[in-house]
């Protein structure tokens, strides 16, 4: 079995995918637990069942008695959660609390973060996806130690058999005769063969477990993107053609709208990243979605499609598409569609000029941005005179930030509430014990989406998320902040989208993220 371990160590690499988002498995949330503003980070264990680490930071100086955390599985038929856990205060930091979350079943969880304090108690709901995303390598020291101990145990067992046959039955002090010695050698030979077969069986067993685990690693639904021309206009078709989705008896729950759209589709120009679009394809059926393609330049584009299931499970589908034909006039198929061909601002620093002449400033400070450290993702939009402007909500949020590593290993769609999906949070906030029939909750959510219309960004909503549906429309703030920490080092591009005077504006920034230390 340790031979297997050495092979694993040689293979070495830890593969990383994510459920929602790509290459970024951790969950970042900023919102309110009743009267208490909080930032919650859930570090994914990458394996199910596994222990996720949750930290809760109180963002306002309020007196708090205790912080409770409880992961609740999405399915009310099997949820039946135990009592919540009390998060421990992290020594040396009076506003930070930490606990472990036991995520025992693959799927989506709503983590209830309850803060109890002097001004009452409140709960925030943080959607967390529990999926196996990585295959852990056996590091060399541990592999070598296990190999050595296995060899020791193997030789020791053979020696034990020999000693048992040779001497254990003799009266004290009597030396073994030649016959006993010969028999012990035979017994040791047989033991060697039997133990070697047992070890081979163990290795085969381990290989089987590993193969089954690799088969069970989470992969987003397969999707294929194609282009067609319709009266001079280019139409992008996205098909979720995964057999686990197209099968009529599929296990997946239906899609639900997030910010009013079933699919948020992002196109990113491959290699150069010099082209970006944020589209919202319209459903032709439950598999096929179409969107008019903006006049992006010809080339190969990566596609990332964010979808949310009724279970609260959010995932990002990944595909590629080659755009070869020239783009003509573009009539957006959805009013929230937007695109840009800006190619980053490496030369001009942290201030970019937006399409309406206003500016967007990334207040990032001078410190380098490092992996797993809170990234200073704060942005201010100012009019041409330099005065900060008040932003309009764009799909229920003050802003959207998409970031991609140049090689495509990371793609994340952020809001001021973090990495979490608003729709996923709503499924947990509004799910009732009787919601055991597929589609029942989705219909309610869709009706609520239609009834609520466009909303401002601000505190409120059932889930405690800024800009959550159900809260009173509020003017969006002038500055934007996104809670996040980069998961991997390397060059990234950021697209920050806001809405002003009815126009969707996109600021583009580049950043080099350094290793953690």
């Amino acid at each position: 079995m340790t031979g297997r371990g050495v092979r694993l160590a040689v293979v070495g690499a830890i593969s990383l995918v994510a459920s929602a988002h790509v290459g970024s498995p951790d969950t970042y949330f900023e919102g309110t637990a009743g009267p208490y503003p909080v930032r919650v980070i859930v570090r994914s264990p990458g394996v199910v069942p596994g222990l996720a680490q949750i930290t809760v930071r109180l963002l306002a100086p309020q007196e708090v008695r205790r912080v409770l955390v409880l992961p609740v599985y999405w399915d009310p038929r099997t949820a039946a959660p135990p009592p919540p856990d009390v998060a421990e205060r992290v020594p040396g930091d009076s506003t930070l609390y930490s606990a472990a979350l036991w995520l025992m079943t693959g799927g989506s969880y709503g983590v209830q973060v309850t803060v109890e304090g002097a001004v009452g108690s409140g709960t925030a709901l943080v959607p967390v996806m529990a999926v196996a995303t990585r295959r852990l390598a056996l590091d060399k020291p541990l592999g070598a130690a296990l190999l050595a101990l296995t060899a020791f145990l193997f030789i020791g067992a053979v020696t034990l058999v020999g000693a048992a046959v040779k001497e254990s039955g003799l009266e004290p002090g009597v030396p073994p005769d030649r016959r006993r010695t010969l028999r012990s050698h035979v017994a040791m030979g047989v033991a060697t063969v039997v133990l070697a077969l047992a070890l081979l069986g163990g290795r085969r067993w381990w290989n089987g477990v590993d193969a089954a685990y690799r088969t069970g690693l989470f992969q987003p639904l397969h999707a294929t993107a194609t282009l067609r021309t319709n009266g001079g206009a280019r139409v992008l078709r996205l098909a979720i053609d995964d057999t686990s989705w197209t099968n009529p008896k599929r296990q997946w729950t239906p899609l639900i709208p997030d910010h009013g759209h079933l699919v948020h589709l992002f196109l990113v120009r491959d290699s150069t990243l010099a082209g970006f679009a944020h589209l919202h394809p319209l459903p032709l059926d439950s598999i096929t979605f179409e969107s008019n393609l903006p006049p992006l330049e010809s080339g190969r584009y990566r596609l990332y499609a964010d979808i949310v299931h009724e279970s609260g499970f959010a995932q990002t589908l990944v595909s590629m598409v080659d755009i070869s034909s020239a783009g003509g006039s573009w009539r957006p198929s959805d009013a929230d569609d937007a695109w840009t061909a800006e190619n980053g601002q490496r030369a001009t620093g942290n201030v970019v000029t937006l399409q309406d002449g206003s500016t967007m400033t990334w207040e990032r400070g001078d410190a380098p941005i490092r992996v797993d450290h809170d990234a200073p993702l704060q942005f201010v939009v100012a009019d041409p005179k330099g005065q900060p402007v008040t932003l309009e909500p764009y799909m229920g949020m003050a802003g959207h930030l998409m970031l991609a590593r140049t090689d495509g290993a990371v793609f994340v769609h952020l809001h001021p509430a973090g990495t979490v999906s608003l729709a996923a949070a709503e499924t947990f906030a509004l799910r009732q014990p009787g919601d055991t029939v597929r589609g029942a909750l989705g219909k309610r959510l869709t009706a609520m989406e239609k009834g609520s219309g466009e909303q401002g960004a601000g505190p409120g909503g059932a889930s405690g998320m800024p800009g959550a549906h159900g809260g009173e429309p509020l003017p969006a703030p002038r500055s934007l902040s996104f809670p996040y920490a980069f998961p991997q080092p390397g060059p990234y591009r950021l697209w920050v989208q806001v809405k002003r005077s009815g126009r969707i504006l996109t600021g583009v920034f580049d950043v080099e993220v350094r290793p953690a230390s």
Binding site: V47, G50, A80, L149, T159, A163, S168, E171, P172, G202
Partner: protein, 387 residues
Amino acid sequence: MTTTALPAARAAGRAAALPWYVAAALVAATSAKVGVIWDISWHRSIGRDTFWTPAHMAIYLGGVLAGLACGSLVLKTTFAGTPEDRGASVRFWGFRGPLGVWMSIWGAFAMITSAPFDNWWHNAYGLDVKVLSPPHVLLALGIWAIQLGALFLVLSLQNRDPAEEPPRLYGLLAAYMIAILLQNVATIGIEQVGFANLAHNAVYYKVAAGGVPFLLVAAGRGIRLRWPTTTAAACYMAFSLVLIWILQLAPATPKLAPVFNPVTHLIPPPFPLLLVIPAVAIDLVMRRMGRNRDWRLSVLLGVAFLATFFVTQWFFTEFLLGPHARNYFFGVDQWDYSSRLGPWRYRFWRADTNPVTPTALAIAAILAVASARIGLWWGNWMARLRR
């Protein structure tokens, strides 16, 4: 047995010397077994655990205690042992010590190896996705080894004793260690022979017939007591009962979803198999048949075991599923926190899909005979063990 004709008072009159390392090995073997049963109860009642639960500590205490005690004895025997000590030992890589000591040391190393392996396994493939995993098997092998080591140490004391009737203490301790091994069988077979609800299906009798007689018969052949098998079976039942009575007293709250059964205390292990009755039959048959006819004896033992076991368990489990057994003494009708309680609690499971037929009983009888024959071989070897 050689002891049957001797008056008990004569044996009881002699003082038995129990070396410190044998006592340590017995405590280690007990600690590991208590830890395993406690851990199963922990998982059925609380669900969530860490490496540092008391149950895990009891298991690893067994390994550490056995390893340290036996390791120090090896060093003492090898470098400062008397000729008698060295003469009562076997050679192992240039060192000297009794066979049981080497078994225990091997078991301790296996247990120690399993700890980081298990930790990595959890991180790699998930927290106890399956109980039966390579690191858990290695841990189980280690526990078996320290228990067998303790048994061998006691047997070598019994067999080296020059008196025709060795001190009864050695026999009792050897019977106790057989009882611990019977507990292992009960643990491994908990899903086949653990619960009373299983006693009206065929697998129950096949598994019991294959797994139990070899230990009972080995005790009958290797232990010098008047009723060796019965004593071992009684120790097995007493061990279970003590744990059933103690574990129920410990408060516990489920901490892992789903919680369908909000238990308030540790769920005890199932009521033990009534092995005393088949054991009495085995003792009587072995006493009557004597030695030198082991093939014929194994047939008689296998059939006697299955007949008495079948009758006993078939009817006694009906009592265990009834209302009069639902009390502290029997500890039945207590279920995991994740169980959805229902009428299934009081029914026999798989009685219709896997019925007890004459064919099934014949297969069980063959298994019992084979198991008894293996027990005789092993018992003969145990009776010869001197070092």
